[in-house]
């Protein structure tokens, strides 16, 4: 008989993530896909892929929790939901015990969450209704420059200078980028400036405590951004093993807690 597993669904504005954990909280399966327009189909796809990776099937699911913007909108294996703030906090606290500040950079929003030593939230901040500093900003720049997202890291590393963008607004920033291209500035220097602009927008959202954890899809796919963040913060930053899945992992941990706290391990979902 297989061990029960616990599932977290993080239905984000940009990507949908599913995490499957065992009874010790260890991530044993995960999958990610663009959220697209059919949330239910995407959630199902990610669930099946992550269960397959974990070597289990739906009957083995003991409990599940959903999070992310689509947490209340999708037919899934659960009716339980938690906010992504709570789930990111839970997921990061699992990886890094003690007092931490979490910087989560997602496709459409950023969060700065401060936790005390017990993992309880002291405060949190989300970006205002603005794309500055989010993955959407990076995607827009990638599109304007016609450079694939996955090439931007390497290009930024080749920069000899940095062209700083002065504007807060994504649209104005794009105009600035085009202006710099027109003036013959090296693309690598411009891309470095794009990363700088992005991380600067995030860091100015709130003050930080000593230990800083970076998470989110943008962090997972842009190691250059992480290096730059550490440089700007002035000390190394902590990265979970699967930064894009901290929200889903946290949701799964809530599912595990629910079972642990109630003693129910029903496998009835």
């Amino acid at each position: 008989m297989t061990e029960p597993v616990y599932v977290g669904l993080d239905m984000g504005a940009s990507r949908t993530k599913v995490a499957v954990i065992d009874r010790h909280g260890v991530l044993i399966g995960h999958a990610v896909k663009k959220s697209g327009i059919d949330f239910a189909a995407t959630a199902t796809f990610c669930l099946d892929a992550s269960l397959e990776m974990a070597g289990v099937n739906r009957d083995d699911i003991s409990d599940a929790v959903a999070t992310g913007y689509g947490r209340n909108n999708v037919a899934f294996v659960t009716e339980k939901s938690k906010t992504e703030i709570g789930c990111h906090a839970k997921g990061c606290h699992y990886s890094f015990a003690g007092e931490i500040t979490i910087i989560d950079i997602g496709g459409q929003d950023n969060k700065i969450i401060k936790l005390d030593a017990e993992g309880r939230r002291d405060s949190f901040k989300m970006n205002r209704k603005c794309a500055a500093g989010t993955g959407a900003f990076l995607e827009e720049m990638s599109s304007r420059l016609d450079i694939p997202l996955d090439e931007m890291n390497n290009l930024a590393r080749q920069a000899t200078e940095m062209i700083k963008l002065g504007s807060y607004c994504t649209v104005f920033s794009a105009t600035e980028v085009l202006e710099n291209i027109r003036h013959g500035k090296p693309v690598a220097d411009i891309i470095k400036g794009i990363f700088y602009s992005m991380i600067q927008r995030v860091l100015e959202m709130d003050s930080l405590t000593e230990k800083v954890v970076l998470s989110g899809g943008v962090v997972a796919h842009n190691p250059y951004l992480v290096e730059m963040a550490a440089e700007l913060i002035g000390r190394p930053v902590l990265i979970p093993e699967f930064p894009q899945f901290t929200g889903a992992h946290g949701a799964a941990l809530y599912a595990l807690d629910a079972v642990t706290n109630t003693g129910e391990d029903s496998k009835k979902l």
């Binding site: 909108n73 339980k80 906010t83 992504e84 949190f124």
Partner: protein, 415 residues
């Protein structure tokens, strides 16, 4: 799929009576605008309404009309009408929605009150900039458009204490309005009538205070969202007997709720302070959102701003000056912080929501470090939500929901 949770909110029985007196008020205004022997004044919400009423004017409050545009969700489509004639979408969305409605020839009054087509045409416009500069710009536009006089009080701002110097200043400014008002109304100011009006205003605001303070009880018998609706008479009928009678009725009902331990929100677990303007087009949604989470948003600076303990019939004009200067919005941050701290204590608050209204900087108190200072001093956590009073293009429902739910989760963790 996540089930829609059923909000648990209690309806206030006196609402029917309030709707009736508000309806009577709007029909009377409409009649006044058509009657050759009556005069109509437009007044800002904490302008010299007592003076206008005592001189026989029927008084229309454009801020009330603008809030109705917001609550009926008409505002967002009307704001661009004002933008096209040069009024930025970044300035007061009361102003832009109201002027937009005028330009488009629409009004929520027409939908709510058959026979009324629009706000009453004014004979004079009277402002007090204690709210903000935008009210002066707003009234000035109508003055030119309708070719009517526009006079007002230019209020001191950002002071901590209401000193004699400031009171002298505003007293003289109120007195200076009188000759123009007498000319328009065609009758001299009768001091006795002003005393009676000020006495009624005092009585009204005293009852309104008692109504709001019932929320100090646990569970709180009314919420901020109830308050934004039931403050209508305190805004537009201040200085009248109808408002006094209404608040006596409302107070009786809420006092009974207190006795019976009936909360406005079922199973109240969290007690929340709301700082800033309501999002008029989302009143119901926000009310339900908090109720679902067993959180009672039970007190606010906004609703409490219509409490004027300084009105004094013995010294009417000077006491009006004092009352208008006492307004929260016109004071310094150090005064505001002391005020809020006292409210947090009195109402046993667990958390504060600051509404950062995009187009209302004067009523958005999260922009100069106040949340951080108050949190440090009181230990009471807070959360800022971005939005607007009227312009729903500045509102993200999902961001609001996530922020509020996560904030309540945070309070839950700390219990």
């Amino acid at each position: 799929m996540a089930q829609e949770k059923q909000p648990q909110r209690k309806k206030i029985e006196a609402t029917g009576q309030m709707m009736k007196i508000m309806s009577d008020y709007f029909y009377d205004l409409n009649d006044a605008a058509k009657a050759p022997d009556r005069k109509v004044a437009w007044c800002t919400s904490v302008g010299p309404a007592e003076l206008l009423r005592a001189m026989g004017f029927a008084v229309h409050f454009p801020e009330n009309h603008a809030a109705m545009l917001g609550a009926t969700r008409m505002a967002t489509e009307l704001i661009p009408e004002a933008t096209t004639i040069g009024y930025s979408p970044d300035i007061c969305s009361y102003l832009t929605a109201d002027i937009g409605a005028y330009l488009k020839g629409v009004s929520p009054l027409a939908k709510a009150y058959p026979g009324i087509e629009a706000p009453p045409r004014p004979d004079i416009l009277v402002y007090n900039t204690n709210q903000c500069r935008d009210v002066q710009d707003w009234f000035s536009w109508y003055a030119k458009e309708l070719d009517v006089p526009c006079i007002g009080i230019t209020s001191p701002k950002n002071f901590t204490n209401v000193t004699d110097i400031l009171i002298d200043d505003v007293t003289r400014q109120i007195e200076a309005l009188i000759p123009t008002l007498e000319k328009i109304s065609g009758q001299p100011l009768e001091l006795q009538r002003l005393r009676e009006t000020v006495a009624l205003s005092r009585e009204c605001t005293e009852l309104w205070r008692q109504v709001l303070e019932t929320a100090a009880a646990s569970p709180a018998p009314l919420t901020f969202f109830d308050g934004t609706i039931h403050m209508g008479p305190a805004v537009v009928l201040r200085g009248t007997r109808q408002a006094v009678d209404y608040y006596q009725q409302l107070l009786t009902e809420l006092t009974q709720r207190m006795t019976d331990k009936v909360g406005a929100v079922d199973s109240e677990k969290h007690r929340i302070y709301w700082e800033g303007m309501p999002v008029w087009g989302r009143l119901r949604q926000h009310s339900e959102l908090f109720a679902e989470l067993q959180a009672s948003v039970l007190v606010s600076t906004y609703c409490s701003s219509w409490i004027f303990p300084d009105f004094d019939a013995k010294d009417p004009i000077r006491s009006m000056a004092k009352a208008y200067l006492g307004l929260f919005i016109v004071r310094s941050d150090s005064y505001k912080e002391e005020y809020i701290k006292e409210m947090l204590r009195k109402f046993h608050i667990d958390g504060i929501i600051y509404h950062d209204a995009k187009t209302c900087p004067c009523n958005s108190n999260s922009r100069y470090g106040m949340p951080q200072r108050l949190e440090k001093e009181t230990g009471i956590p807070s959360q800022v939500i971005s939005g607007d009073l009227n312009d729903l293009r500045c509102v993200s429902d999902e961001q609001t929901r996530t922020n509020v739910e996560a904030f309540i989760e945070q309070l839950e963790e700390r219990r």
